[in-house]
């Protein structure tokens, strides 16, 4: 269990050049322990930049990143240790596979942690089962696998480090609905059995509604709003303002509410909508 906090963080890419770009300005976020926090925002809103700040791959231009209250760049502390505690799955992680076999690729992270071989094998198997990688694939080359399988191998590679906090940058980008559900369910299972904090980056409000506990909405390098899923969905206008699409079911119930047919603001699941509509029908 670890607590991760961003404190007034700003980040500027290529400072002092004509390509200077402020990607984050004065962002403060507190990630709650043992919860799935979704970071959502339009492309270019700074989500991936946040992800890389969280495990010390980028160093904030100003402000601090705190892990259990300690600045990760504090003098004398070792950033590479932070990277084992805060696992980061990059966007399109399948492009980082390089080993001869799937097993060895998943074992790359744990091997870098200098664990003993038995422990590495245990972690590889456990991570593979959560990420949905069949043990039959272990001796195959990662380059022979399908896109969805590669993605799962890459996610298993981070899970095998058994970090306290796992950050996933658009883990479902480019996958079909089934592959997407499998990956998200795997992540949820992993959180439940490891009691760890999950930070999920996505630009799909639909995914967030299904899988996140808390949501942070970002726009142009700033936090627009944050709160639990219920709270954030009460502010549908803010979500729209950030340039994101709301889930279809939210759009439908919103329209029904506007026409006075039901009383249902901020609904984001089909079940809830069903309930509300039945309620309204009974009252007639």
């Amino acid at each position: 269990m670890s607590k991760l906090t961003l404190e007034n963080v700003s980040y500027v890419y290529s400072p002092d050049t004509p390509f200077e770009k402020e990607a984050l300005s004065n962002v403060s976020i507190e990630f709650k322990e043992n919860r799935i926090t979704g970071i959502i925002g339009h492309t270019g809103s700074g989500k991936s930049t946040v992800a890389q700040l969280l495990n010390g791959l980028l160093k904030s231009t100003s402000g601090r990143v705190l892990l259990d209250g300690q600045d990760i760049f504090e003098k004398g502390s070792d950033v590479s240790k932070v990277r084992f505690r805060v696992g980061l799955v990059f966007q399109y992680p399948e492009y980082q596979l390089f080993e001869e076999t799937v097993w060895r690729d998943i074992a790359f992270g744990p091997s870098n942690m200098k664990l003993d071989p038995n422990e590495i094998d245990r972690r590889v198997r456990s991570a593979a089962s959560f990420a949905g990688v069949d043990e039959e694939l272990f001796e195959k080359s990662p380059f022979e696998l399908s896109g969805g399988q590669k993605r799962r191998v890459a996610i298993a590679g981070i899970m095998a480090m058994e970090p306290d906090i796992i950050v996933l940058d658009e883990p479902a980008a480019g996958l079909d609905p089934r592959g997407r559900d499998e990956i998200f369910n795997g992540i949820k299972k992993w959180r439940d059995s490891h009691n760890s904090t999950v930070i999920l980056i996505s630009h799909s409000m639909e995914d967030m509604a299904l899988y996140a506990d808390d949501i942070i909405v970002m726009k142009d390098g700033k936090v627009l709003t944050s709160g639990t899923v219920d709270q954030v969905f009460q502010r549908v206008d803010v979500i729209k303002q950030s340039g994101l699409d709301i889930p279809q079911i939210t759009a439908v119930t919103e329209e029904l509410t506007k026409r006075g047919l039901i009383d249902g603001n901020g609904i984001y699941t089909v079940d809830k909508a069903y309930e509300k509509i039945l309620e309204a029908l009974k009252e007639r």
Binding site: P18, R83, F90, Y95, Q96, G109, N112, M113, I158, M161
Partner: protein, 274 residues
């Protein structure tokens, strides 16, 4: 970041130099380079430096950026200057005489001349060409200039296309390298291992994904080009047709003037001597 060391640093803009035809700029740079080596006295070299500064002003690129481009070659400049100072001998009495080390007036003069030459060479050619011409336009210009070689069955178009593609993908691959390095660091990869074999091994996690992705991109690009019926130079038309304009004529006129002035200034010292 790796991405910051882009090759051929092009700065988009709309200055007089940006708007010149790339062929004009290539020829002007050739003229400029030759002239830099023609200049051989204080007057003509000063004139070169002034020309370089005028070019910077014309390009609309800030002096700070131009100065930064000199930084990497500073060592070369200093080295050349030092060599010139210490190794030039002449028949005059040395200015400083410390036994083995003798410094002559001629040595210092040579060093200063060399510094001015290198500086005006770098500033002039980068401002004229690389800073104000996008790589794609540049290859277009080269292709057009080399067109006569086609008669000799030199595959000019194919070379130009290869160069365009290479230039186009350099930033992409650098960006990708950055990403892969970060991704492997996130998995605890260390790049500070000891020993040659270990060092090389540490780079495999970067090199393999990079090669895989370069081949994948090449494959995709080839398919995309074939889908659009690319079949080389034959019957190919261009979106941007290069055309000389009056600006180019003015530029050429100035360059002739420039050569004349340098040659004249070179003559001054001979005239003064007589």
């Amino acid at each position: 970041m790796l991405k910051d060391i882009t090759l051929g640093q092009y700065f988009s803009g709309d200055s007089a130099l940006h708007r010149l035809d790339p062929r004009t700029k290539i020829i002007l740079v050739l003229i400029y380079v030759v002239t830099v080596f023609l200049a051989k006295n204080l007057f003509s070299l000063t004139f070169l430096l002034v020309t370089a500064i005028v070019l910077v002003a014309l390009s609309g690129i800030s002096a700070k950026i131009v100065l930064r481009s000199i930084k990497p070659v500073m060592i070369l400049i200093i080295f050349t200057a030092v060599i010139n100072i210490f190794l030039t001998t002449s028949t005059d009495a040395p200015l400083i005489n410390w036994g083995v080390i003798k410094i002559y007036k001629q040595g210092i003069v040579n060093a200063v001349f060399m510094i001015v030459r290198i500086l005006s060479l770098i500033i002039g050619s980068s401002v004229l060409l690389t800073y104000t011409t996008s790589p794609i336009t540049l290859t277009d210009g080269i292709e057009r200039l080399l067109k006569p070689l086609k008669k000799l069955h030199v595959p000019v178009h194919d070379f130009a296309m290869m160069m365009t593609i290479a230039l186009r993908f350099i930033p992409t691959l650098l960006e990708e390298t950055d990403k892969i390095i970060s991704a492997q660091k996130a998995r605890g990869a260390g790049f500070d291992s000891k020993g040659l074999v270990n060092k090389a091994k540490a780079f495999l996690p970067i090199l393999i994904p990079l090669f895989v992705s370069a081949f994948r991109r090449a494959d995709e690009l080839a398919v995309a080009m074939e889908c659009r019926c690319y079949r080389g130079d034959e019957g190919r038309t261009r979106m941007r047709v290069l055309k000389y304009s009056s600006k180019d004529a003015v530029a050429f006129a100035f360059s002739v003037l420039f050569i004349l002035v340098v040659v004249l200034l070179n003559g001054i010292s001979t005239a003064l001597a007589i």
